[in-house]
């Protein structure tokens, strides 16, 4: 056992000084180590892999730990003839080891065994779901994804994560992943930048994570759409309408060959509702959507469009009618919850719109112009006060001195804002501008590097250009002389 343990815990040396030669050496060692771990019969049937696992560190011996853990899980599956034996269920011995590993593995080492890593994540997630503890699978999956950090690359694990979040009703835990920008699929093996080593920390993930690496199960067009639709549903559950709308935009603006998928139509319906709830109106559809796709959306989501028209026009009677008529549709589309929020949003946006016409009005006047449900002046005042107090509208309230006097609502407070308050906001705006400039500067530097526009490279290019200009001059003078270029160059040199 001691020989095998010594070999398993012999971590390939990771270079401190990053050079191509050092990376090449480390890359070779890791590849050899993985080949060694993949040998059939590596673990003698008489030995207990658990002893090895206890002796190994998941953060230092990540590859050994992962292979041994997978081996032990397979053994347990064979022994119990079950895909998910008790020991891999939450709280079991293998579960604890798996979760410990997913929270502490070395992401560089794991780049050499992404397939095994993904299979472990999938197993942990399905064990959590089958034992009705999806939240445990969600947290482990999120931590594993954050640790691996395949930034910008969409994988099947991303889709798994949002499904787990919706399944467990634990939305905030998914935000660190859903907030990330995803703009790549695992790179096609044929288009990999072969100049990078897998262990290189400088190399962009797109150059390292390929479809052949196993980081993701086979992805389809549907998976991509589902991920953004489910992410939008997470944001909607948290009433983050802007983010929800952004995700839904991705779905409805996805390229189509001929037919529009059901997911896209579903997303379009939710897109209408999310925008009504967040902005009180439907923005124009993204320009990249072709007109025939928009026509399909509009014909398939007609009840939603009629509802939105009534909402935008402030026609409460028509909106209520549309909502009543469409009950079966909202229910079938599972949008009843969103539609039911429209009444409060209607009141909110009607009151906010009053600010465009009036600078001040009494609560009685507000009551006359709004209210989707019968409210008394006290209730409408509470509602308006809640809008003002939550900063949903810029206004102030003022009680009148007499006992029966009404409350005054003053809108459009731009000029009346407290000077100190204004100063704070100007300061915050300046800070935001500074942050923006810093981010842009950082991005420009990064882009320069990516496009090889670094200072050193520019100097080199300038020198090369100078050299070629002087060479051209020589060539030109040579031409005038009518001699051969090579000869003239040689002549200049003389």
């Amino acid at each position: 056992m001691s020989d095998l343990l010594a070999r398993l815990s012999a971590v390939p040396y990771r270079p401190h000084v990053v050079t191509d030669a050092a990376n090449e050496d480390y890359d070779r060692q890791l590849r050899e180590f993985v080949a060694y771990l993949k040998q059939p019969g590596l673990i003698p049937s008489t030995s207990d892999p658990n002893e090895y696992l206890q002796a190994l560190s998941p953060s230092k011996n990540s590859l050994s730990f992962l292979y041994l853990l997978r081996f032990q899980i397979q053994q347990a599956q064979k022994r119990t003839k079950r895909d998910l034996p008790d020991s891999i269920q939450p709280g079991g011995n293998l579960w604890n080891l798996a979760v410990r590993f997913l929270r502490s593995f070395d992401p560089i080492q794991i780049r050499y065994s992404l397939d095994e890593w993904r299979q472990l994540v999938d197993l942990v997630a399905s064990a959590a779901v089958t034992s009705s503890k999806a939240v445990l699978g969600l947290k482990a999956t999120r931590d594993a994804l954050e640790r691996l950090s395949p930034s910008g690359i969409f994988t099947s694990t991303h889709l798994l994560l949002v499904k787990l979040a919706l399944h467990s009703s634990a939305y905030t835990y998914a935000l660190p992943i859903t907030d990330q920008l995803l703009c790549h699929f695992p790179t096609d093996t044929e288009h990999v930048h072969h100049e990078y080593f897998l262990c290189s920390e400088q190399a962009p993930n797109t150059a390292l994570v390929t479809d052949a690496s196993g980081i993701s199960a086979k992805l389809s067009y549907r998976d991509h759409l589902q991920y953004f639709l489910y992410s939008a549903m997470i944001y909607m559950a948290l009433k983050k309408w802007t983010q929800a709308s952004r995700c839904l935009n991705v779905v409805i603006a996805s390229p189509t060959a001929n037919a529009v998928s059901k997911i896209m139509v579903e997303a379009y319906k939710k897109w209408i509702l999310a925008n009504l709830l967040g902005q009180g109106k439907i923005p124009s559809t993204p320009k990249m959507i072709s007109p025939h796709v928009i026509r399909v959306y509009q014909s398939l989501a007609r009840p939603y469009i009629s509802l939105a028209e009534a909402f935008e026009k402030g026609d409460l009677y028509k909106m209520s009618n549309e909502i009543d008529l469409g009950q079966a549709i909202w229910q079938a589309d599972k949008n009843t919850g969103l539609v039911s929020q429209l009444f409060e949003a209607f009141d909110k946006f009607v009151i906010v719109k009053l600010g465009r016409t009036f600078s001040a009005l009494t609560i009685a006047d507000v009551l006359q112009r709004t209210s989707s449900s019968p409210k008394c002046p006290r209730e409408i005042e509470e509602f308006v006060a809640s809008l003002v107090m939550s900063n949903s509208m810029r206004a102030s309230l003022s009680h009148s001195p007499d006992d029966n006097g009404t409350t005054m609502l003053r809108l459009s407070l731009g000029s009346q804002t407290h000077p100190f308050y204004r100063e704070e906001h100007i300061r915050a705006k300046l800070m935001r501008a500074k942050t923006a400039l810093d981010t842009i500067a950082q991005g420009v530097t990064q882009t320069d590097q990516t496009l090889e526009l670094s200072q050193e490279n520019l100097q080199f290019l300038a020198k090369s250009q100078k050299w070629s200009v002087s060479a051209e001059k020589v060539v030109s003078s040579g031409d005038i002389g009518g001699g051969d270029i090579d000869e003239d160059l040689m002549g200049d040199g003389q």
């Binding site: 559950a237 001195p401 100190f420 981010t439 991005g443 420009v444």
Partner: protein, 209 residues
């Protein structure tokens, strides 16, 4: 790092040591995993844990996620007094029923182990409301102000000096002629906006790639 096992004593230790509400929320989020693995028979421990965790959501203004938490709590504890009180409180907070919120916090029975977090939330909610009222009202009747801040509206309406003093101590002005309070706006730094940076980073990332 492995957390010490979840127990009533450990919960009390966490409540007395964490410096901020965000830390309390983060620590209890980590403990949620242990709570999921505890037998449903441990009703007291689970009830106190989920009550405390629920309040940590309110203390960090995560009302929607607090609602989601109530949907994933283990079934057996949903009927406990403490969790039922949480559900009533959630409804009152959701509907911004200030009088109801103070009543629930002060008058309903809460587990002894959760008393400190309940009191923390009461103070937090009162202070938050004070800031909101200060920035929203130019003039307010004492009874309305008292309702917002969990004071006795009847006493305030009668011009009770002690109650009025509580408002003037916050910088508000009392006009005895009109019997109105004039709040003093609270200058708070606008919330830090990370959205812009995220959006710009996205654009720059797209350009870079």
């Amino acid at each position: 790092m492995d957390l010490p096992p979840l127990s009533l004593d450990q919960l009390s230790a966490v409540l007395s040591t964490v410096p901020t509400s965000a830390d309390l929320y983060n620590t209890l989020s980590d403990y949620e995993e242990q709570a999921c693995l505890i037998s449903a028979k441990e009703v007291e421990l689970l009830s106190v844990f989920y009550t405390t965790f629920f309040f940590s959501h309110l203390l960090t203004d995560q009302i929607e996620e607090a609602r989601a938490l109530t949907k994933r709590m283990p079934q057996p504890i949903l009927q406990t007094d403490s969790i039922q009180n949480c559900l009533l409180l959630l409804r009152a907070v959701w509907q911004r029923k200030h009088a109801g919120i103070y009543k629930i916090l002060r008058e309903l029975p809460w587990p002894n182990r959760a008393q400190s977090v309940v009191r923390s939330y009461e103070n937090y909610f009162q202070q938050k409301t004070l800031n909101e009222v200060s920035n929203s009202y130019e003039a307010i009747k004492p009874a309305a102000a008292a309702t917002y801040l969990g004071l006795d509206p009847a006493l305030a309406q009668q011009g009770d000096q002690e109650t009025i003093q509580k408002f003037t101590a916050c910088g508000w002005k009392w006009d005895p002629e009109t019997q109105l309070l004039h709040p003093n706006p609270v200058i708070t730094a606008p919330p830090k906006d990370n959205g812009l940076q995220t959006e710009l980073s996205r654009v720059m990332a797209l350009i870079s790639h």
